[in-house]
């Protein structure tokens, strides 16, 4: 409905904790590989990309929860059980997404360590 407040809410959720923080961990590797004078512009672009990604999350969630929760079209308005279903769907997806981010960064760190061991076989 009010996309501006939704945008602000998502931008606020990007701050410490939650999936935004954990995905940022993976992308910081790309930043550390850059020379110093490029890191500033890169981080600016990165912030833009993260905001865009949050918006995409918004629409992906809408699609998932619509597909799973809205099954009949007897009326224009959402039935109360459909509303509840959608709220629970969104909550479950976001919690799952946080868990996916945790496992993802664990696996990435493992792979990094493996790569470093391969490069320095001491």
């Amino acid at each position: 409905r009010d996309w501006r407040s939704a945008a602000a809410a998502f931008a606020a959720r990007r701050r410490p904790g939650g999936e935004g923080g954990q995905r940022a961990r993976g992308t910081m590797d790309a930043a550390t590989k850059l020379p110093d004078h490029l890191r500033g512009p890169f981080l600016q672009e990165l912030e833009e990309m993260q905001i865009r990604d949050q918006f995409k999350l918004n629409t992906r969630l809408g699609e998932h929860c619509f597909r799973d929760c809205v099954t009949t079209f007897r009326s224009k308005n959402l039935a109360p059980d459909e509303e509840k279903c959608i709220k629970n769907c969104a909550g479950a997806f976001l919690k799952m997404s946080r868990r996916v981010a945790e496992r993802f960064s664990e696996i990435q760190m493992q792979e990094q360590q493996q790569q470093m061991q391969q490069l320095n076989p001491q």
Partner: protein, 126 residues
């Protein structure tokens, strides 16, 4: 914690963007001139981030479809959904790794084949 370090880096690079950045961008004001090599590096970093984002998003979508299906009567993930999610992530990453390796082998073989074909006389089979 990672977002804190990201913000710190941003404030640090604000300084680098002015003094050091100006020095290495040949004196044309912060972020003015960038050599083609710089542009390439920036683009490569951007594409790497896009790759990670895309991977993460697809993995989330697929694991949601495969693991979370309680008709949304509760707002919490039960234990089965939690372990399904963990395994889904592990298998998805392993799938991606296998595909990258297969793709690399395939491109190496393709390159070899095209090199051999390049040595054939013109007018040969394409």
């Amino acid at each position: 914690t990672s977002c804190l370090s990201q913000r710190q880096a941003q404030s640090d690079e604000g300084g680098a963007g002015t003094a050091t950045g100006r020095m290495s961008s040949f004196g044309l004001g912060g972020g003015g001139y960038r050599s083609p090599n710089d542009d390439m590096q920036l683009k490569a970093a951007k594409m790497e981030v896009e790759l990670v984002q895309d991977l993460f998003n697809r993995m989330s979508d697929l694991c949601f479809r495969k693991c979370i299906n309680n008709k949304f009567k509760e707002n919490e993930l039960n234990l089965g959904e939690q372990s399904c999610t963990d395994r889904c992530v592990a298998k998805y990453m392993a799938t991606q790794k296998t595909i990258s390796e297969t793709f690399q082998e395939f491109s190496a073989a393709e390159q070899q084949r095209m090199q051999q074909q390049g040595m054939m006389p013109p007018g040969g089979a394409q």
